[in-house]
């Protein structure tokens, strides 16, 4: 079962188009949705959550389209963004009341378990919470109900390393039963290295790369060498070629490595090196 299926998703704005986006996330996996600021990540997530209407394409969560049952569709989504979306004047008990009213699967006891575990103050206004506490509260609201897809929109921005690590652990726990998935939009690529199973790379509204993390890491190599080793073929095929006065460095598709000079050094690249090289390549 696929937790999320996106086919031919397109949204046109004046000056920006998100074009023909296609991917699937099988249940039990985490997908990193990466791209620069303004690449169209938040637009995609807005389309998935139906806060924005698409121009064409289809989206299914757990096999269900929004129009089939809008309420069930939204019930299956957990959404976390970098800025806390709860009204600032509310306190935790107000949020609990709203959740209980709207979500059929919301478990009050479970919510309070997280509240106690993370020592969240019950009567303090949410706008007075620290950023870490606000993120934890958003998580408590999601983990206390039955969701199938967790959407994180730059949720780790500005968090201290301890909270960030805690979130990455929560995500692993979330997908453990093999029934739920995560789409993790970020421009902080280091976070993905640890947890993502799939990577989707978006650039200026267009799909550039989509595969499992392992396939991507297999598919590319990092090549380093002296300037004398840089031939015409390599100059043409190296992605994000960086030249210095003594040498060069760039990403190359593994199957093109037969043309490499024997003096070149070949290393396994990190995901962020591949993505950054691609961005440099695309932007000339």
């Amino acid at each position: 079962m696929n937790a999320l299926e996106v086919n031919g998703l397109t949204k046109r704005y004046k000056g920006f188009t998100l074009e023909n986006i296609n991917f699937t996330i099988p249940a039990g996996y985490i997908m990193g949705y990466v791209g620069r600021n303004g690449a169209g990540k938040t637009t995609t997530l807005g389309l998935i959550t139906h806060q924005i209407k698409s121009d064409s394409g289809s989206i299914k969560i757990n096999g269900m389209e929004y129009k089939e049952n809008p309420e069930r569709y939204k019930e299956m989504i957990g959404y976390i963004q970098d800025i806390c979306y709860y009204p600032g004047d509310f306190n935790l008990l107000d949020i609990k009341g709203i959740m209980k009213d709207f979500y059929q699967t919301f478990e009050e006891e479970k919510f309070m378990e997280y509240v106690n575990k993370w020592k969240l103050p019950e009567k303090k206004k949410i706008k007075d919470f620290s950023k870490g506490m606000q993120v934890r509260l958003m998580f408590a609201g999601i983990l206390a109900r039955d969701t199938k897809l967790l959407i994180l929109d730059e949720a780790t921005n500005g968090l201290d390393p301890v909270v960030k690590q805690e979130i990455l652990e929560i995500l692993q726990e979330y997908i453990q039963d093999g029934d739920r998935s995560v789409i993790f939009s970020t421009h902080i690529l280091n976070d993905l290295e640890q947890i993502a199973d799939y990577i989707f790379f978006l650039h200026e509204g267009k799909q550039v790369m989509y595969d499992t993390k392992d396939e991507i890491l297999e598919k590319y190599i990092l090549v380093k060498g002296g300037l004398e080793d840089l031939n015409e073929y390599m100059e043409k095929n190296l992605i994000g070629l960086k030249k210095t006065s003594v040498g060069f460095e760039g990403i190359l598709e593994s199957d093109k490595s037969i043309h490499l000079s024997k003096n070149c050094v070949v290393e396994k690249p990190a995901i962020d090196q591949i993505i950054v090289s691609y961005i440099k390549h695309k932007e000339g």
Partner: protein, 225 residues
């Protein structure tokens, strides 16, 4: 049913303004007793609805881009959100009208004034309040204003318009004997058919509210696809 839940949430959103509301109610109570006359028992209702119109739009300023995200993610149809907002506005005005009416009745009992004509004034002010409030909700949905400062100004304008027009009307009526007589005659005529007039005005104001609500609901639904 979801509309009622959204209405509840809107009331939660204005809870930080409760202290302000208590101050205004106390102010209206004190000044009503000084300003009310036996012919114009409806002043306190007008004051309360004036406050009601201003405060009824508060949830729009809470629905900023971020918190709006939370609301739109709740498992409910867009139309329920809009119905809930209008329902909240209506209930809010009913509460304000009841408080204003209670003040008028207390005054009438204390000063031993005949309550004849008060019901008509209450219906007129309530109906006008519903219309002004529906229009301000309509404008808020139509233009989707997210700027807090613009919203603050927007929030005050309809209430003041209502208050200004109401005050001018009250002043014109009471400024000379001639207009007072004309008003009394009109009121007498209306009082003759007061049930029909009251029902008619109430129905019209409700119709305006329902039309505004339907248009806004359709618009919000189209946005979400």
């Amino acid at each position: 049913m979801n509309a009622v839940k959204f209405m509840k949430m809107d009331f939660l959103k204005i809870k930080s303004q409760i202290k302000l509301m208590i101050v205004i109610i106390a102010f209206v109570m004190v000044f009503s007793f000084k300003m009310l006359t036996k012919d114009m028992l409806g002043w306190s209702v007008m004051y309360m609805i004036f406050m009601g119109i201003i405060l009824a739009s508060l949830p729009f300023s809470v629905d900023t881009t971020t918190s709006g995200g939370f609301v739109t993610l709740l498992p409910a149809k867009a139309r329920s959100r809009v119905y809930g907002r209008f329902l909240y506005g209506l209930v809010f005005l009913v509460v304000c009208t009841l408080i204003g009416s209670a003040i008028s009745v207390s005054y009438a009992i204390k000063e031993n004034v005949d309550l004849k004509g008060l019901l008509l004034q209450i219906i007129v002010f309530f109906g006008a309040g519903v219309i002004v409030n529906s229009l301000q909700f309509f404008v808020s949905y139509l233009f989707e204003i997210k700027n807090a400062q613009v919203l603050s100004i927007m929030r005050i304008i309809p209430g003041f318009l209502f208050f200004f027009c109401g005050s001018v009307l009250m002043d014109k009526i009471s400024e000379n004997q001639e207009s007072m007589n004309a008003f009394s005659q009109t009121v007498s005529k209306i009082i003759e058919y007061k049930e029909a007039v009251a029902i008619g005005f109430f129905v019209i104001s409700m119709l305006i509210m329902v039309v505004c609500m339907m248009i806004c609901a359709k618009r919000e639904e189209r946005k979400e696809g």
